[in-house]
């Protein structure tokens, strides 16, 4: 029930989460992606279109923190992969977000 409620809330165009790092980590959670693929994926599942500056600013920070790493590729488009530390950070953030969602829904029902 709660999972259904969460999925209904995390709907493209409805979520207003503005932290691009979480969005990028979530996009990379199901596989390696390059910059344009990340941008399109986020646009699909979150309804947010990241600008090129925002996207590569976030990619730079994630790479410096060790949460993603570049995958060797000969193409111009550089794919990225989420690391174990990035996965752990993403889980923590999603758990926190889920707690916020559950608490908010419960209080809305009780109100």
């Amino acid at each position: 029930m709660e999972a259904k409620q969460e999925s209904s809330i995390i709907t493209p165009g409805v979520v207003t989460m503005q932290d691009p790092t979480i969005l990028i980590l979530a996009s990379l959670a199901d596989g390696d992606k390059h910059g344009y693929a990340i941008m399109e994926d986020i646009h699909v599942f979150a309804g947010i279109r990241l600008g090129p500056g925002t996207l590569y600013g976030a990619i730079c920070r994630l790479e410096q923190r060790g949460w993603i790493r570049a995958v060797k590729s000969e193409a111009r488009r550089q794919p990225y992969r989420i690391t174990a530390a990035g996965s752990q950070h993403l889980k923590e953030q999603l758990a926190l977000l889920g707690q916020v969602v559950r608490t908010g829904n419960r209080r809305m029902r009780e109100a």
Binding site: G35, Y36, M39, G51, L55
Partner: protein, 271 residues
């Protein structure tokens, strides 16, 4: 717009461009950039530049240990030498410095009452008490109080008002006549000397003493004899209440001007 973004991307730091320029350029080929993307890139350029500057400022410059120790050692040595020299220089003064204990000053003695030492004062204790000119100019300060039958009495402004004169046990204070008005018991106005053939106004200045009992003793007069005698005779009959100063009986000296006017005397003027 794409070209504009590429120009904006050149504002990134060299390290950023070396790492991300190629894939960033590929991304620009994949998307249809808008003006918002230009602003987005410029904003990220500013953020990266600011973080780079802050990091550069916070990063300590690598200093070899020998370069770090030498100035510190030299500074400590110089300071120690200077402190030692100062201690040697002042130690003798500090240990032999006398300790002065300053006793509190006694309270100032009360000022003695003014003692008149002028030889001209009290040349005759019974008749004169001061060297002040008895005849005081009439301009200003004269208050006409009583006028009847051509005779008026003016209270004079006294230049030595409030002064105390002493000789032996005698102590006289100078009070103005108007201040004595509330203590007067009996006043006798002088009579115009009918036998006089003077014309116009004649002034007689009278200096008198109020004794401790309240009676009046004329000390001296100034003026033509018939008028001065009339003034002395009348004022000598004045009576005051016993006067006190600082809760002690005192004798008081005052002065008045008695003005005789022949015209008013003949017309019988009486206000």
């Amino acid at each position: 717009m794409r070209t504009l973004i590429r120009w904006a991307a050149r504002l990134y730091p060299p390290a950023w461009r070396n790492r991300y320029a190629a894939e960033f350029d590929a991304l620009l080929d994949d998307i249809s950039p808008s003006f918002g993307d230009v602003c987005d890139v410029l904003g990220d350029v500013l953020r990266v530049r600011a973080n780079t500057s802050i990091d550069a400022c916070l990063m300590l410059a690598p200093v070899p240990p020998i370069n770090l120790r030498l100035p510190v050692f030299a500074s400590l040595t110089v300071h120690a030498v200077m402190i030692t020299i100062v201690l040697f220089a002042v130690w003798g003064h500090v240990t032999t410095m006398p300790l002065h204990i300053v006793a509190p000053l006694p309270p100032p003695a009360p000022e003695p009452p003014p003692q008149v030492t002028d030889g001209r004062v009290f040349p005759n204790a019974l008749t004169l008490y001061s060297s002040l000119p008895l005849k005081i100019p009439a301009q200003g300060g004269a208050l006409p109080v009583y006028v009847a039958d051509g005779v008026g009495i003016n209270f004079l402004s006294l230049p030595d008002i409030g002064a105390t004169y002493r000789q032996g046990n005698a102590e006289w204070r100078v009070w103005p006549g108007q201040a004595l008005e509330s203590f007067i018991v009996r006043r006798v106005l002088p009579e115009y000397p009918r036998g006089s053939n003077a014309h116009g106004a004649v002034s007689v200045f009278v200096e008198y003493l109020i004794t401790r009992g309240g009676s009046v003793k004329v000390l001296r007069t100034s003026g033509p004899p018939p008028f001065a005698g009339a003034a002395q005779l009348a004022i000598g009959r004045w009576v005051y209440q016993p006067l006190e100063y600082e809760n002690r009986p005192c004798e008081v000296v005052s002065r008045v001007e008695v003005r005789f006017d022949s015209e008013l005397a003949r017309s019988g003027f009486s206000p």
